[in-house]
Amino acid sequence: MKNRKKLTQMKLFLPIFSMLLVMAVNVVYDIACGNPPLSFFTITIKNEILYGRLVDVLNRGSEVAILAIGMTFVVSSSAGTDISVGSVMSLSGGLCCMLLAGYGVTNVSEYASPLWVGLLAGIAIACVCGLFNGFLVAYMNIQPMVATLILWSAGRAVGLLLCNSQIVYVRVKSFQIFGSYIGIFPTPILIAAICIAIAALVLKFTALGTYIQSVGINKKASRLAGFNSSKIILMCFVISGLCAGIAGLVATSRIYSADTNNIGLNMELDAILAVALGGNSLGGGKFSLAGSIIGAYTIQAITTTLYALGVSSAQAPVFKAIVVILIVVIQSQPVKAYFKKLSAGKQTAKGGAQV
């Protein structure tokens, strides 16, 4: 009883539990279909690249994982969400491809400008977007969701404008590498791993994490304690923009084209879902980066599982919605209070019996 309680109150209980649940569903499905029961976990080398459902989940989940890093910081510091990340992804991908191909050109096999210019510009514009969002939230005191609403609409539109409303293809090997494979290993996994490692190291060796949490718990009190609250919130939004930029470049490189209408579509919802699934309160304050990352991959696992079960990509949102509602209802105050009352009632009943 005590052990069970300890387990359910562990910080990472929710994300790990849901991850295991998804894996269990996969195993059951495989057994039902007559496949070997552990085919979800088997990794083979086919056509000289790593192959397997687990690799696929890790690979496809890279963008959401990268976004989840920035989103965790934003949620924690400002108690709001950055809903512009999907559009910013599309914008940064669009700018990068536009620079690499030249304006108005839709299909190139040679760079119009060096690769690093495109990549840097893509990331820089994403940071500027983050700066804009952060300025509105931190210095103008606008609700985060509303402030990011502007770029949610404008980001994709500007991206379309840069690409002249067309899909710009950049068919050059060195550009494709970020979305494909280095040797046998998928590059997006590497990029996500590097981003996660950097974030983890920063949190471990600097006091940034503590600052962010304290601002999220009480902005005024933190300012009185000597933190520059506004600056910290601004920084969180810039980090979120940076993450969106990196994710956008990975997504663009994956299809070696700037499909501005579709890159990062609804990605902000996945990122927010990842943070919620990671056991983080969407009301700000304490956060766990590990939870968000596990949450991100869990979402990808859910999506991949749904596809494996034969659900079409248009229908998948129904299940995602049910998952979101279940998670937030479990986390909500009245339901928590109800369960607490229930367990308290049981304990007093027990105590009464002992006496």
């Binding site: 509105l136 005191n141 402030a147 502007i150 609409s153 009301g283 248009a314 998948a316 049910i322």
Partner: protein
């Protein structure tokens, strides 16, 4: 103190109306040769945005309580799909389907409202889940585009032109053009009028303002805050369903990707119309002008002919940004005056 608040919100409304007038007159001057000066251009804005107008009214109610409802676009897609599939595949009467759609809207709003008001889940997260759900459900019902052709009543309703007794002109071919509106416009304007009346004179409408202005004092005053919030979400979903029927009458089809981003248009219309995102301030007349401004922008972009359609998104976003910052500045001024 109270006087200042009213004057601020009135100022926002005034700016909106002036902006609309300037934009429309500018359009009349620049695109005079493309028929911008005809009454029909203005009526077309109303016809094209009748659905959005209903949605914006519901959105205003929710935003008055300090919440937000981003599920509206998907809900409209689901409504249209139910209408289309219901008529074409299930062989149901359109009158029955309209009632069904309204009922679905009621239940949808009820569930969202319970999650927000009684379980304390953030409105954005709740309605985001609703958005996912409705869009996914649309695909579950049917993934193809379904056009409505076989229901006589619905087709007739969609094709009815209500001619206006004034404003007729003779076009270049020498044929007299009589300006007209559609049934949807009348429905939308009725919705605006009723919502305006409810917000101004009915107990429920007044409590929306009170809850949005200061939840704590509303509660101390004896208002049932939770029930009011629940009511706001039900009203929003119900008006969205009415808007969905108007939208369906306009497009006469149902597809999965219908009304994508409509929630953004509705929110920006309300914000441009002077509804504060923090709740407590705003009215439907402002939202009406917000919708008209949105419509004018897209008409202007279309009239130019060479611009990419994403320009209208960009201009709307810039306007939205301008009004949000304006609101923030007003809020700051108010705070300074207080202290």
């Amino acid at each position: 103190m109270k006087k200042l608040k009213i004057s601020n919100s009135n100022l926002l409304l005034l700016i909106t109306i002036v902006l609309f007038a300037v934009m429309y007159l500018g359009g009349c001057i620049v695109y005079a040769d493309k028929g911008f000066t005809h009454l029909q251009t203005f009526l077309n804005i109303l016809i094209n945005n009748a659905g959005l107008l209903c949605v914006a009214c519901g959105m205003t109610c929710v935003m008055l309580t300090g919440g937000i409802d981003i599920s509206v676009g998907s809900l409209i897609a689901m409504d249209c799909m139910i209408m289309a599939v219901g008529i074409e595949e299930w062989g149901m009467k359109s009158q029955v389907l309209i009632l069904l759609v309204l009922l679905i809207g009621l239940v949808f709003g009820l569930v969202q409202g319970i999650c927000v008001a009684y379980l304390g889940i953030q409105p954005f997260i709740t309605t985001m889940a609703g958005m996912f759900f409705a869009r996914g459900m649309t695909a579950v019902i049917n993934t193809q585009q379904v056009s409505i052709v076989s229901d006589a009543f619905f087709v007739k309703l969609s094709n009815t032109k209500i001619k206006l007794p004034f404003g007729s002109y003779v076009n270049s071919k020498g044929i007299e053009q009589i300006p007209y509106i559609r049934v949807t416009v009348i429905v939308a304007l009725l919705v605006v009028a009723v919502t305006w009346f409810v917000l101004k004179y009915v107990r429920f409408g007044r409590s929306l303002y009170a809850v949005g202005g200061n939840q704590m004092s509303a509660e101390l005053m004896g208002l049932n805050v939770k029930r009011t919030k629940l009511g706001a979400y039900i009203v929003s979903a119900l008006l969205t369903s009415i808007g969905g029927i108007c939208y369906c009458l306009n497009t006469m089809s149902g597809t999965v990707n219908q009304a994508v981003g409509l929630e953004m248009d509705a929110i920006s219309s309300a914000v441009i119309g002077g509804t504060l995102l923090t709740g407590g301030v705003g009215n439907v007349i402002g939202s009406l002008f917000g919708v008209l401004i949105n419509g004018t922008i897209s008409t202007l972009v279309k009239s130019h002919g060479k611009l990419i359609s994403s320009w209208s998104n960009i201009v709307t976003a810039i306007l939205l940004c301008f009004f949000i910052i304006l609101q923030a500045v007003f809020a700051k001024m108010k705070e300074r005056k207080k202290s």
